[in-house]
């Protein structure tokens, strides 16, 4: 069984600052593998350990994403494919899916393709099923459990008001929810081993995609800090009892008391 697990190299949102003018400041941001994708990598690694799956990983990123390869490989995959292009700086779900699908076709469609449920930065939640559609294979999304038997995978999907068990024969795309597993903290030996694993860089030009396929669809007009629109009313006058009275009277006006 062959598995390709896809991941994205993202800025740590804890390090993103919103300036007074609402600009998004990423100058201090450390980059990391998107947390949701770590679940996907872990699930692939477990398949490697339990079902002798042959796992490789794939990312589309700028030259900065080079730093991600060692971390990804220390989490289990035996080889990394890296579509290295500056276009990753300004991409969307449409372009990313086109590139990943083309790269997967190029290296050979595996039995299973794993994704996280969405990326931690833009959280577009579409690349996994888009890739499935482009490859014309089923997409099993929001998966909390996987079981492989013969040439099929049975997953438990958790989709809001119900769970369902869905079985798909290979090949298939599977997108994981975070509760599926707990990503490992790579051990010393895994980290050391990772630096010896092969990395194959894929040039965008070799994927044979048209300009249209590489042009983003929706135009991002702005990315700005989220502003809380709150009343910010602080009761300052009078005794505590009076403050509470004023609060309850305001809540009553909102129909809440």
């Amino acid at each position: 069984m062959k598995i390709i697990v896809c991941y994205k190299w993202v800025p740590d949102e804890q390090d993103i600052k919103i300036a007074a003018d609402l600009k998004v400041d990423m100058s201090m941001a450390k980059w990391k593998i998107s947390e949701y994708d770590k679940n996907a990598i872990e699930e692939a690694a477990l398949q490697a350990e339990n079902n002798a799956a042959e796992v490789t990983c794939l990312t589309f990123g700028t030259s900065k994403a080079k730093q991600s390869l060692k971390d990804a490989l220390s989490r289990g995959p035996e080889k990394a494919y890296w579509v290295n292009d500056a276009k990753a700086e300004n991409t969307d779900g449409f372009v990313t899916a086109n590139i990943l699908a083309a790269a997967i076709k190029k290296v050979g469609i595996p039995d299973l393709i794993f994704f996280g449920e969405g990326s931690e930065d833009s959280y577009g939640q579409q690349v996994g099923p888009r890739v499935a559609a482009l490859l014309d294979i089923p997409a099993l999304t929001f998966v909390t459990k996987t079981a492989v038997k013969d040439d099929a995978i049975t997953t438990t999907r958790s989709i809001g008001n119900c769970t369902e068990d869905v079985t798909a024969s290979f090949p298939a795309v599977v997108c994981m929810l975070p509760e599926i597993n707990k990503p490992r903290i790579p051990s010393l030996k895994q980290v050391l081993k990772a630096s010896k694993k092969p990395v194959e860089e894929i040039k965008l030009a070799d994927l044979g995609l048209s300009d249209a396929e590489l042009t983003v669809k929706n135009k991002v007009k702005s990315i700005q800090g989220f502003v809380m629109n709150r009343k910010n009313k602080l009761y300052q006058d009078g005794s505590s009892a009076e403050k509470v009275k004023a609060l309850v009277s305001d809540l009553a006006k909102e129909g809440l008391a």
């Binding site: 740590d12 804890q14 390090d15 201090m28 450390k30 903290i185």
Partner: protein, 96 residues
């Protein structure tokens, strides 16, 4: 914003933490702790993580630990099992 007097809660909120929910890296031996009358931990912790409950027991929240080790040095009753958090966990200074 103008620099102002701030509570440690707010200041710790500025820092980056990856909390290892399953493995506290500092564990208090309550039996030893309760015998201590001086309780230096209450004043020496820069993150003010040690608090005295009404029951006289020390309450401690390892999540905001800055990993300085002052409590470990000062705990005269050796009531702390003090380790560094597991790799990648704990505080990550952006400036240092």
């Amino acid at each position: 914003m103008t620099v102002k007097k701030q509570q440690t809660d707010e200041l710790l909120g500025l820092d980056k933490f990856a909390v290892d929910e399953d493995n506290p890296h500092v564990v208090i031996d309550k039996e030893k702790c309760i015998k201590c009358t001086e309780k230096p931990c209450l004043v020496v912790c820069p993150a003010k993580l040690y608090k005295l409950g009404q029951d006289g027991q020390i309450q401690f929240d390892y999540a905001g630990c800055l990993e300085c080790g002052t409590c470990r040095v000062m705990c005269s009753h050796k009531a702390l099992d003090w380790k560094y958090p597991q790799g990648t966990f704990g505080v990550s200074f952006r400036f240092g």
